[in-house]
Amino acid sequence: SGMPLSSEEIDERLLAEKYLRQFYHLPNGLQGSRKPSDSFQSKVREMQEFFGLEVTGSLDGNTLEVMKQPRCGVSDVAE
């Protein structure tokens, strides 16, 4: 929307990016052919689908809650 993010929203975004990079191969920075925001949304969807969450592509409370849970360090994307 162009509105600046609050510090909490920034923290959540950073947490999600780190999570998706680790477990869903979110490309770093300018890697990949897609726009970074498209890649991010696409990976959020992938993660939501894997965990049986509502697939919205956005960082809702349930998605963030799952991202914060203790887990195995192996990627969820076997490839």
Binding site: G52, L53, Q69, P70, R71, C72, G73, V74, D76, A78
Partner: protein, 366 residues
Amino acid sequence: YNVFPRNLKWENKEVTYRIVNYTPDLPKSAVDKVLQKALNVWSGVTPLTFRRMTEGTADIMIQFGNGEHGDFNPFDGPNGLLAHAYPPGRGLGGDTHFDEDEKWTIDSEEYNLFRVAVHEFGHALGLAHSNDPGALMFPIYSYSEGYPLSEDDVEGIQFLYGKNPDSRKVHPKPVAPNKCDPMLTFDAVTELRGETMVFKGRFYWRVHPNMAEPELALIKSTWPMLPNKVDAAFENPHSDRVFIFSGIRMWALSGYDLVEGYPKYIHKLGLPKTIRKVDAAVYIPDTGKTLLFTEEEYWSYDDNSGKMESGYPRSIESDFPGIGEEVDAVGYHYGYLNFFHKSLQFEYSYNSRKVIRVLRPNSLLN
């Protein structure tokens, strides 16, 4: 279940392992025993055998480390990442690492080494993560007692290696229920602070009015103190309590927490000792009464007086015509009782005393 690309697996049936170092959280003998037991879970359902090495390079090198521990795949301090393992292969392949910044236990306290080890050895043998929340290969940590594998885990590992030729008896946990099954039945239904909780086996769905998709999770992942199966549940919104029944015991929850003094026996409500379980329960806000259904009868508990009402038990079939003799679960919404029995849901008008609609139970799951 999922496997790694090219179905990576060990070609030899004898897989070697070596415990390189130990966690100070547990005695060495306990760690040896836990890790061997974890490997035996997988050998119990496959033709694989495991041989321990005390020096040199084994297929599965097991170590405890924190932060950056030599594989450029660092851990992250307490909680978060707990452990990781590499799929079968040379060198790092099969190696299993546990985060030493976690507190490792052999009981229900976080984090149970046996549970995590069985999961990680699943990776070391060729299983990737499962998206079945009841499977041990689901990525998120959960604790439960008893045999750790679900049918999904067993199917996955046997896809790679086949069955154990000795055909030892194991009892894997059932796979997660399918919300799209038209014959789906429920164990219990309740509201909890605006959301609907639907219990089925070891699992429950969480249905939020603003979300199209219900969320499925293990009961114990949210409420570790509850048993693996729930018979009945109801919410009293005035006291902000949810009551869970299983067998002859009942638990009172305040959100995620157990209310002090619970569990209690269901007979404390005034049910006779001959009643060994409650099939369904519901609180009616308009009357302040809780209805408890057992076999073909039901009871009415008066919250105000804290006693069972006189004149009960009464016949379900007589007082709720059209829903049959017994119920599996019941909920209350805006003057309607939703009775669930086998693969039918009856929407019953409490005021006009009749069935308004007959639906499938899983319409509650959208």
